[in-house]
């Protein structure tokens, strides 16, 4: 299998080299270079349409890049389906709109991938699922359908679902921006706790600057398909270098 080779622990978890992507004529990612260490927490921000979602979706190949290299835990993403599957087995994703499966109960949502992808026995998968539901503090909702939960609860289920495959990398695409304001905190709390208690590598697209300050090792600012600036949260917020970064920060902090 493609993951058989154990990677040295100082090798980057995720490596993007000169990644380019176009939608037709539109150049959505331009020469993206990014190296993410094992266990590193990265927050990605930038104006709407700057290519943040596209970049992290390339990492589990929901989108294909057209030039450059993307390597996840030693496996380079190509058209080879086995490599794509190998990467997806190690990468969990949380979407802006939750994307829970409405016809399955919460528990079934959580056990689906362990049972079908990892071939875990059902009882074991359910025990693991309950453990993660407790971690996101909604074990009592296990047998409800997603449509019966609040937005914040649904997003916590989605986080638990991604964790159930025991991923090495978690991708978050604006996990709180579809939520009512009073539910944002409960989801961020879960994510902060996850960062504290596990060593999973996290890439999170978000404009929650409080979250970035408390969790991120590095903040990345993207604009027009490029990584314009990156720095530790303290430096990034207090001494932004680039004009576009300054403009962006002044806009979101003005809110």
């Amino acid at each position: 299998m493609a993951t058989a080779v154990q990677q040295p622990s100082d090798a980057p978890m995720i490596l993007l080299e000169k990644v380019n992507k176009w939608y037709g004529d539109f150049h959505v990612l331009t020469d993206i270079d990014l190296s993410v260490k094992r266990g590193e927490r990265i927050v990605i921000c930038g104006p709407s349409g700057s290519g943040k979602s596209t970049m992290i979706r390339c990492i589990n190949r929901l989108e294909e890049h057209q030039a450059g290299r993307i390597v996840v835990d030693g496996v380079e993403l190509t058209n080879d389906v086995r490599k794509v599957d190998a990467v997806r087995r190690d990468v969990g994703m949380v979407f802006q709109h939750f994307n829970l499966f409405p016809h399955l109960t919460v528990l079934q949502n959580l056990t689906l991938a362990p049972i079908w992808v990892r071939k875990t026995p059902k009882a074991e998968a359910e025990a693991t699922a309950m453990k993660y539901l407790e971690r996101v503090r909604i074990p009592e909702q296990a047998n409800k359908f997603p449509g019966q939960l609040s937005g914040g609860q649904q997003q916590r289920v989605a986080i638990a679902r991604a964790l159930c495959i025991n991923p090495k990398v978690m991708l978050f695409d604006e996990p709180t921006s579809a939520l009512d304001p009073e539910m944002v905190a409960e989801v961020l709390d879960v994510m902060i706790k996850l960062a504290e208690e596990s060593n999973v590598t996290m890439l999170c697209v978000t404009h929650e600057m409080g979250f970035a300050r408390s969790v991120a090792d590095r903040v990345i600012f993207m604009d027009r398909g490029q990584i314009v600036e990156q720095n530790t949260p303290e430096e990034f917020f207090s001494h932004p270098q680039n004009e576009r970064t300054k403009l962006f920060l002044s806009q979101i902090l003005a809110h």
């Binding site: 589990n60 929901l62 599957d85 997806r88 087995r89 990468v91 969990g92 994703m93 979407f95 709109h97 994307n99 829970l100 499966f101 409405p102 016809h103 689906l112 991938a113 079908w116 992808v117 359908f145 449509g147 019966q148 679902r161 991604a162 495959i165």
Partner: protein, 363 residues
Amino acid sequence: MTDSTISAIMPKPITGPLIWLRANLFANPFNILMTVLVVWFLAMSLPALLDWVLLDAVFQANNVRECRAAGSGACWAFIGEKHRLILFGLYPYDEQWRPMLVVLLLIAMVGVSCLRRFWTKWLAPMWVATLMIVGVLMWGGVLGLTYVENARWGGLPLTMILAFVAIAVAFPLGVLLALGRRSNLPAIRAICTIYIELVRGVPAVSLLFMASVMLPLLLPEGMSIDKLLRAQIALIVYASAYLAEVVRGGLQSLSKGQYEAADALGLTYWQKQRLIILPQALRITIPPLVNTLITVFKDTSLVVIIGLYDLMNAAKASFVDPAWRGSSIEAYVFVSLIYFAFCFFMSKYSQSIEKRLAKSQNR
């Protein structure tokens, strides 16, 4: 809060026959006009209908002349005389308990399949076994049953076999065609699209005609397939194209997020379709799906054009007898009631599934 304050806030809904009448039948001038027209129409037609069906109908007679002399209503004596021809066609008279058993068996299996607690892995094998028993009963030639060639099959069992086999084969085929039409592989997409569009662009009658006339020409020398099988293939081809389009509608209504979530979890293409996409797409499409199934059931009657004695054609054959000439209305009413019973059941059953699904998902 006390009871009296509650009733002060929440007035009892005002009901009663007079109020109901006012709200539903005499709410405004247009409403009143419609009510009067409908009542007038019913008053004109109902008594006449009742006379024809019951009061003036004749239940005992030896031929159509006696019937007409005895009363001006329906000649149900004709049905009494000919119902076995209509129900079982030209199947040997003494063996007609076999197709009767087939009909009962199929109805029982449909009943079983509709109950949720039988939705287990045994349902499919049970159907296979049922169809094998149906084959044995209809053809015979084993277990001491005399052989009956399928050219002599007819009536209700033939209609049911044609419809059930067509639906059973066309449904999975239609699902595959619908998936194929949305495939990323251009060759598969093209084949499925062409198939669906070609079949949908042609009347069912001409498909049947082509199957009966052209299929034999396409087959290699010396090989022949019988008329029943040709009709069955034509019905499958026709039904699968329509079902494919219905299913495709359901697939399109799912959000991209469902596909992405399934992909991100690492499900394979077939796992994704089977576990995530199809269960949702088929639920949404229950009403048009059942509509198509009802159409297919009724369209089996088109096999008359290639000379099979299905229920409808057997009914036609029944009033050719000179002794009963002119009893076509009774024959058509009789078979229409049978078709209606089946289709009404399908419709009601689909409504009950929809309700239950709506409840379970609370959406």
